[in-house]
Symmetry: D2
């Protein structure tokens, strides 16, 4: 029985599936909990298995915590991949939310078992690994999403459409930043969930660039339809000495030689979700701020400023509307954006299971190719920073 209805409008609301898909969790902690919340919210996923911990006591606790049978709480992702692939009711897909250095081998294991993957960003720590995963996903024919969730907000999607329709004319500059403050206290690096983010063996060559800088880079390219082609970057450690940067500034070139700036920091007191995108064109500008995610400023030169918000009949497209759960004025937040990612992931997984051909324009979710682009961006930033911020191709 097919999961997707035989007919539906690819531009319209996302269809219900014939059954809930089964999701496995690889990695514990708050991030997996939050993603699971979002996945459940879509009513298109149920959590069916997990590799939460190699420690048997913690694994057992996880079974209780997650309301899972103990035999589906695996001590390792390798065993999980094999066992789940062998079950008739095995997981349709897994989310990978481990520290960065584990992403590659975990994702590889599931792809080789033919299981679809949704992996945290940054995808991996090395460009070669990223390329390998792109190849592996292709060979396996699996859906491989990467959690650049910022591109899943309705207002970001609408912004992307406005650009495509020429609403701001020819783009002439792009600015994006991600400002946080949680590393401000001197001892903030001692917390366990922070420690690995400052350990090059786990976090890779960067900390702030990989963790939040790539969000900024992805959303800037996604909305502008202009890939990043070059970057020059300067890394900083602003507060307490640390093995990796906590702040970086970059200048960017997008396709068509469009210049821009990009920066991120975790030492900007008063900022927490300060992902702010601004795109300026020959006829108008777009501005979006994660902390005010339900609104999109769309200013056309010579006309009154405009604020778009979620909700029927106020200028949003049907493709944006289908990502919206509540009426205009009743705020939605980042969990709903995660929900949108999991809804689109479900659509893609179902389409693959159905052996269905779908138009390339159907879904806008971030895929493994976007993940690989992010890794290239990180790598280019590192190389630039090591060469006195020279221009480096991405």
């Amino acid at each position: 029985m097919p999961l997707l209805p035989e007919t539906f409008d690819f531009d319209g609301p996302f269809p219900r599936l014939a059954r809930r898909l089964r999701l496995g969790v690889v990695g514990g902690g708050r991030i997996s909990g939050m993603q699971a919340t979002a996945a459940r919210m879509t009513d298109r996923w149920e959590i069916a298995a997990g590799a939460f911990s190699s420690d048997p006591t913690r694994a057992k606790a996880a079974a209780t915590e997650w309301h899972l049978p103990e035999e589906r709480c695996y001590p390792s992702f390798g065993e999980m991949a094999q066992a789940e692939a062998a079950r008739p009711d095995g997981v349709d897909a897994v989310m990978i939310t481990t520290p960065n250095h584990v992403h590659f081998t975990a994702a590889k294991a599931f792809l080789e078992a033919g299981i679809n993957v949704l992996c945290d960003k940054p995808l991996v720590n090395e460009v070669e690994e990223a390329d390998a995963l792109v190849m592996l996903a292709k060979q396996a024919g699996c859906v491989f999403g990467v959690s650049y969730v910022m591109s899943c907000f309705p207002m970001i999607r609408q912004a992307r459409e406005i650009v495509a329709e020429g609403g701001i004319g020819k783009i002439n500059q792009i600015h994006v930043e991600f400002m946080q403050d949680w590393m401000t206290p001197q001892d903030s690096g001692d917390a366990p969930h922070v420690k690995w983010r400052l350990d090059p063996a786990k976090s890779g060559q960067t900390s702030c660039v990989g963790d939040i800088g790539t969000h900024a880079a992805h959303v800037a390219s996604f909305v502008s339809h202009l890939p990043l082609t070059q970057v020059r970057a300067d890394f900083h450690v602003c507060g307490t000495p640390k093995p990796l940067e906590d702040t970086f500034f970059a200048w960017t070139r997008h396709a068509n030689d469009v210049p821009g700036t990009l920066m991120a920091t975790r030492l900007a007191p008063g900022n927490r979700g300060g992902l702010r995108l601004r795109i300026f064109g020959s006829e108008g500008g777009l501005e979006w701020d994660l902390e005010d995610c339900d609104r999109l400023k769309f200013n056309r030169f010579g006309a009154p400023d405009q604020v778009l918000s979620r909700g029927h009949g106020h200028g949003l497209s049907s493709r944006t509307e289908r990502l919206v759960r509540t009426a205009r004025g009743f705020p939605e937040g980042i969990i709903e954006a995660w929900g949108n990612l999991y809804t689109e992931f479900a659509m893609a997984v179902a389409a693959r299971a159905d052996g269905r051909e779908t138009p390339v324009t159907w879904l806008d979710m971030p895929l493994v190719q976007d993940g690989a682009t992010g890794v290239r961006f990180i790598d280019a930033c590192v190389r630039s920073s090591q060469s006195d911020a020279t221009w480096v191709n991405i």
Copy 2:
């Protein structure tokens, strides 16, 4: 096996339950869909049964839509109450999201079957029915929640705590309003989901007062700790002629003779989720706006203005923090507030199932008594409006 852990901190995070609770849905449409989304999100509920429609074709469609076995999609709530009460795996509770005039008999049926209830507001259309439900719930020993969800936002809870701690001194006035715009178009009343809201046989004596005015009344009393004692109200039909008011203005008296204003309308273009609460005291003021639900203005006279937001370590209490899923700056919205209601409802249902005595201060969720207060408020508004806006006791 008890649902709640034997020991936990009543002021701390809400505990996990030994199993997910089973929720039944009474009524169809967008509201039940949205509440089900929120319930799932908590991971403390699964939708297990429903009475979605008396039309067999639509009932069957609902089974598919909700991923339920057909035998648990009942053609009437009466049959559902009996059948579910008889099952060993019967629902632990039901949500009632029918049009208002059905609430009473539906709630009665489930209470009499010993099933816990979470009912939409306004609770019922008559004061006598409200009183009867309070009594019935007491006799049945059931948990009976009412969906005044606005009191479940973290910032509203924090505001209530600030008042309790004397943060704004002695309260001297309270202003609340709920401004929407969806009835602005002349033909807005023709839509099916709107029609019943303007039909006195279904909506009761009021439309706007019952639908959104009672939200405003509840949240004002909830945050101020001052029940409403008197009201004078003036009803208006501002746009197209309608059988019930689309706008009303009221003056209020809260306990301690504190004066206030309260108004609501659905004809305020540009407003959609315009529930705005302002409480002013001898030392400070609190202001909250649903459209900016993640922030709370807390101004102390003679000091810089302050803005509180969700997130650890920025002045929120542990009781507020336990209602928060994401870090400060990563917005949450109304679905999360619904989630908080369903989490607290789950705690209450589990405590009852465990035969557990719990401190009265444990949960702040709105209960049937609050629902009855809302019905009394509506009734008082109607009587005042019919008597040239004279003062009427609530």
Copy 3:
């Protein structure tokens, strides 16, 4: 030699005058200082004389303070009116900024001397006095302005034009409030500049209604083009006991039976310049807040929200633009609004001096008739409040 150029565009920029007009000041304190600042700023006035104090020592100090010759600092407004009327270089007009109870006799003295007047609001304390001044001004042929300065902000003028052009359709409700906090401290009434405002012998029958409530009433009528016809009002003393109200709530009826609300208080911590106007119609809404005076929200139902701001080429009319001194984005404030009032007053005074006929649509400044309407509004509020908030005609 005429003061105004013989030809100019009545809808265009205000013309320069052949010479600066001479302004007299009646009353001391901060308000007169601020108005003098605004008058100077227009470069169409110079302060030429004053009656600042009956105390000779303070009068002399005023001469120094105001850079005036001692003989033009008069011990009383009566002497000033006579002396200035007799001088060839006598004042063209006076501003009256005394406590309320002095307005009537002062204005009368200058009108009888043929001197134009700009008087503080509320115009006077009694309806009969207001009517008498309207008559006197007419007989004298003098320009008599009243300082409802809130109607002189560019964004308020633009709002008025939008209403006139049908931009929000048929008006269906009007809400206005003026929220301040400076009387929050228990001892705030002891300050000298506050004391008279709470003394019925000086302030008249009201304190808050006359001082800030009439601003709200004026601006609501001005923008909507709908005079107030009826009011029901409830007076409150919210903090420390006082001889006059510090807070009041009102319901209003404007022409065409349009309902509204109006309230004002000085005990709303966190609010200082909280004059907020909202007008909702069948097609759109307008919202303006004094604390954000450079912006005007203009929302049309079914379209993105719009924010208008001062500055050429962004949708403002030429009549609005002529009130603007700086580019869009370079904020102007309340002193500039006062400047606009003094500019229009100068135009009117010059036109009268030139014996010039001017189209009634030329200037929108508030006149003695508006002042009298304000006094009627106060009187109606008092009578309503004394009769259990019954409806009273204005």
Copy 4:
């Protein structure tokens, strides 16, 4: 007779002067008009002479326009300097608002005549000229102000004090930008008041850097107390081809090796007065936006966010309060900031005329040294931009 009172509190309100000072105007156009408005507003200046145009017809028109005797409207600044210096009632100071390339010779002429100067920014087009003016001003003993008016907003002054008192701890990064949109239209460069700004012979080596970039640089250093030491800059022409840059991005180093970013553009639709300063330290952050100039965000890590605003008793210092004309909540704008500059300039000119020694901390107005620093900043940006954005010392 001394201009300043013999005793007054240097930290308290600015004293009245014994007479108004006489100001000359060098240069015409909107900028001089706006500054004259501000100067008049202070009541410490009167416009007494001018060199508005070398064209006799336009010079005569200016006499009428400015209400000046024809003999004091000079055809050249050279004649003006000599004639005014010779008059017993000659000007106390001049404002210079010509195109940039005239600043040097004009300022030199007045300094050599012993007349105080307030000159537009950028001070001059060459570093050597800037140094010469610093020397000349010293030799002449004249007060020489430069119109970095952004540092004259009360909230900017308060921010500077907060930094000095350690309110945000040790500064770790500084971001400033100035975003405008008026060059967005393709033909915007054709307007006469724009043309010279894009002509290297008049505007100097830069357009956007000198015009608005130096405002950003000044305010960042002023508030942080950390001079700029190095810059790397990249110039862009974003829209229509132009002889000079319309956009530039820079990275900066302030004293103590504090890193930062600085950018400016005139092609950011929706932005007009988008001068935004953010300073982040080890304990807190400050954020200010010219378009919302009356508010200052002051966030301390781990505490609720704070918003400071003008007005007594809400946390502002007496030195900030003396720059404030209206109560909190009654907005002031940029003309008032100009007024503050002219007030302080008047204080300095009067002190010099009185031969008075004043503490260096008395006034914070920008002086010729700050102007020279701005010229050095421009020069460093140019050299950096020409060398592939290498680091250049300022």
